[in-house]
């Protein structure tokens, strides 16, 4: 009944991890006829049966307030995940502060993510060439552009239709129309314009209409009837957004992108994919020639070790977990971990710079009642707009940020009206209820999400003594922000305060502008990338320009680990596009008989 027994002695490919990178790799390889084994460290998870659609906060423990067990609230899709995974610790070096998010479940973080899908732009691939900091990618925007197009068409992304500086959109109509802006978004746009701050439709992986199942499959997979068939079926099974019930819960209508609703079902439908959940990978095994032979993993249910053989191994366990597996894959040939001859595995760890503030806007008080939900994700956002000022040396940090913002008459949930006492002189009684009616929906928040430049003090390595409950040595994190990031965080909050004031509003609480105090902790924005970077030179990178290990030619990485920089653009769409490109290379190399 199940396909959890690894009956085949040898698979064509074993993919480790089932999120964005692993889901895409497994899907692409399976639709191209390879026999693929997908290992997932968490349990099987079925969004069609498990998504709490329309459930109300009042029916959840603590009115769905976040806890260590469910950090983003009870109904958040993530299960067996968060900043703490029982039995699977990590450590943080003295003087560092870092939080590591994991989602131990089929589909990983794609079940709950923000669906924010901006493409990296031309500058983002060549940051060192522009400002002398960090490193350049071994590829250009032009080389990835067609994969962004194809990925958008495959998964469904609504977006703006005009490119701005370093903020490209599809030139081939692969994006869906954006939803209409909400009241707070229109108001923000109006008052941001005089400040020179652009507010445009956000790129979000949510279907605003059903996908064109008669058009895209043949376009995306020419000459591949199997791929066309399973993708056509998949597209027809997905509904458009119904503009209700939070996207972070996942979607049983398949209206947003989750690996578990968009990639894994069509991959399974090929008959070429076997998924084994509860499989905690210990290491990649190698032969005497230094080729990967497969992986060994712990079957969590029986707590026994298993080994599976494959012609190629694709790691997509998340940037840090992938680095951990590689560092733990020690052999006579690779005493410091597989493909780690130059010692760079784990280095280059980056997250996104985050800082934000809220504002109370009198104009939004006593608004006529109306539905403010929309897709429950961003309809509008602010792409980075100060490239020219930066070029002219007017800013005290090197790279940009975009702005995500929210507000308005959302569904009341835990924490509603916390802090209202400051606006009402401590109202209680009937006056409290009147004040609540007045202030409901009058708050907005602005969050900056900016680029971090890789530095020598931010990396992960193996803790010399600590192991997890499976006996696998755990990661130890080292972290330091540079001035570029803390100055950027300061710029964020000052800009937001200016914007809030221009809207006639007031910043919530006391405004703190010290970047070292307002910046989020490392890892807190959950955009870790860069630990197994790609490059043009085997001395300064772990992977080549196709995400293939320099030292082990049948070992590939398809998650965020290969990233060379971490532009302010949320990484998932780039992980997906890069993974697709990597599988094209794998298939071509197999065809050529090189692997």
């Amino acid at each position: 009944m199940t396909n959890t027994q690894t009956k085949r002695v040898q698979y064509d490919a074993v993919v480790v991890g089932s999120g964005a990178g692993g889901g895409m790799a497994a899907f692409q390889l399976a639709v191209n006829g390879l026999k693929v084994l997908l290992l997932e460290a968490g349990r099987n998870y079925d969004p069609l049966r498990e998504t709490p659609m329309f459930q109300l906060p009042k029916d959840a423990p603590l009115r769905s307030e976040g806890t260590v067990d469910k950090p983003f609230g009870f109904y958040d899709a993530t299960v067996d995940g968060g900043w703490r995974v029982p039995g699977e610790p990590y450590t943080v070096a003295e003087g560092s502060d870092f939080m590591w998010w994991r989602a131990r479940m089929l589909g990983g973080r794609t079940n709950h993510w923000g669906r924010i899908s901006p493409r990296m732009g031309p500058y983002d691939f060549k940051p060192r060439s522009r400002d002398g900091l960090g490193l350049d990618w071994p590829l250009t925007y032009d080389e990835l552009e067609s994969y962004y197009d194809k990925t958008e068409a495959l998964i469904g992304v609504y977006a703006h239709d005009q490119s701005l500086e370093n903020t490209p959109v599809s030139r081939h109509g692969t994006q869906l129309p954006p939803p209409k802006p909400r009241a707070f978004e229109l108001l923000t746009k109006k008052y941001a314009a005089p400040l020179g701050i652009p507010v445009i439709p956000a790129p979000i992986a949510v279907l605003t209409r059903m996908q064109d199942a008669d058009h895209w499959p043949a376009k995306l997979f020419p000459g591949n009837p199997l791929a066309q068939r399973v993708v056509r079926q998949s597209m027809r099974s997905r509904l458009a957004c119904i503009y209700a019930t939070g996207c972070g819960r996942g979607c049983s209508l398949r209206a947003n992108f989750q690996s578990t609703t968009v990639l894994l079902p069509p991959a399974l439908a090929t008959g070429n994919l076997t998924i084994v959940p509860n499989a905690m990978v210990r290491e990649v095994t190698v032969d005497q020639r230094g080729r990967a032979t497969g992986v060994s993993y712990v079957d969590k249910a029986s707590r026994t070790d298993r080994h599976v053989r494959a012609r190629i191994v694709v790691l997509a366990a998340s940037a840090c977990e992938t680095a951990r597996i590689m560092l733990n894959s020690k052999s006579a040939l690779f005493p410091n971990g597989i493909a780690n001859t130059n010692g760079l595995v784990g280095k280059g760890l980056m997250d996104t710079v985050g800082a934000g503030i809220g504002g109370q806007i009198p104009m939004l008080e006593n608004l006529p009642p109306h539905n403010n939900e929309g897709t429950t994700r961003l309809h509008m956002y602010v792409p980075w707009w100060q490239y020219q000022e930066q070029l002219a040396g007017k800013l005290d940090f090197a790279r940009g940020y975009h702005v995500e913002f929210g507000g308005g008459r959302d569904m009341p949930d835990a924490g509603i009206f916390w802090g209202l006492e400051d606006y009402t002189n401590g109202a209680y009684g009937k006056r409290f209820k009147e004040e609540a009616r007045r202030y409901y929906g009058s708050f907005v928040y602005f969050d900056g999400r900016g680029e971090m430049i890789p530095n020598d003090d931010s990396y992960c390595d193996l803790d010399p003594t600590v192991v997890d409950q499976w006996g696998i040595p755990v990661l130890r994190f080292h972290w330091k922000w540079s001035k570029h990031e803390t100055n950027q965080a300061s710029h964020m909050v000052k800009t937001f305060a200016q914007l809030i004031e221009s809207m006639g509003g007031k910043v919530v609480g006391k405004l703190e502008t010290d970047g070292t105090k307002v910046i989020a902790k490392g890892g807190q924005i959950i955009h870790e990338v860069g630990t197994v970077r790609m490059g043009d030179d085997a001395r300064t990178s772990v992977l080549n320009a196709h995400c293939q290990a320099w030292d082990v030619k049948n070992l590939f990485v398809s998650d965020g680990a290969p990233f060379v920089s971490n532009a302010d653009k949320n990484p998932t769409i780039s992980i997906l596009a890069l993974a697709w490109r990597t599988t094209d290379h794998i298939l071509a190399e197999m065809k050529r008989g090189n692997i």
């Binding site: 199940t2 349990r43 423990p61 209409k180 008959g271 998924i275 084994v276 403010n372 009206f417």
Partner: protein
Amino acid sequence: MDRRHALKVLGAAAALPALAPADSAKAPDPAIQGPAWTGPAGTPSDPNLVTPRVWWPRKLLAGELVTLTALCDTIIPADSHSPSASAVGVPGYIDEWASAPYDDNRESLVKLRGGLAWLNAESERRFGRPFARLAETERHQIADDICYEPKAKSEFKGPAQFFDMIRDLTATGFYTTHEGMKDLKYIGNVPLQRFDGPPPEVLKHLGLA
């Protein structure tokens, strides 16, 4: 929300063709069905999300709940728009919250219990009766002293923090109920064919028309 409407939409989704094998004429290959699904483990980090359940026992005593109920209703009394906090179960929610097995909640339980005890002691001192048996104007005399910490006298700073915690919790408990959402005129959680953005009266209110 309009649950019937929601179920209709979900039913329509369920009627869509499920992902069949690529060649559905053949008997289904077990491989394409994916691994066995056993559902949530029912642990705190993997609870049943569709049918939620509070899994810890409540700790407040009956007498504490009597005082808490009086305080909740002092903060959110019934008016012409909606019922009182206790009429929609707010004290039960606060009990659940203060009894939760998380560090912050454990600490708050101490603050909550201490605050309730202080409230009764203060009521006895001023009026010779516990808080729940005070008249509304008497309750207000105490509440006025502790309703806003920045303006409270030094001897009332601690009780004011307690009052603020209860006010925050009472607001969460109240406004997350159907009655509370209706009071605020919240509109949403209903499936829509399309999203039209804000109506003209909203645009006019904002000077965006």
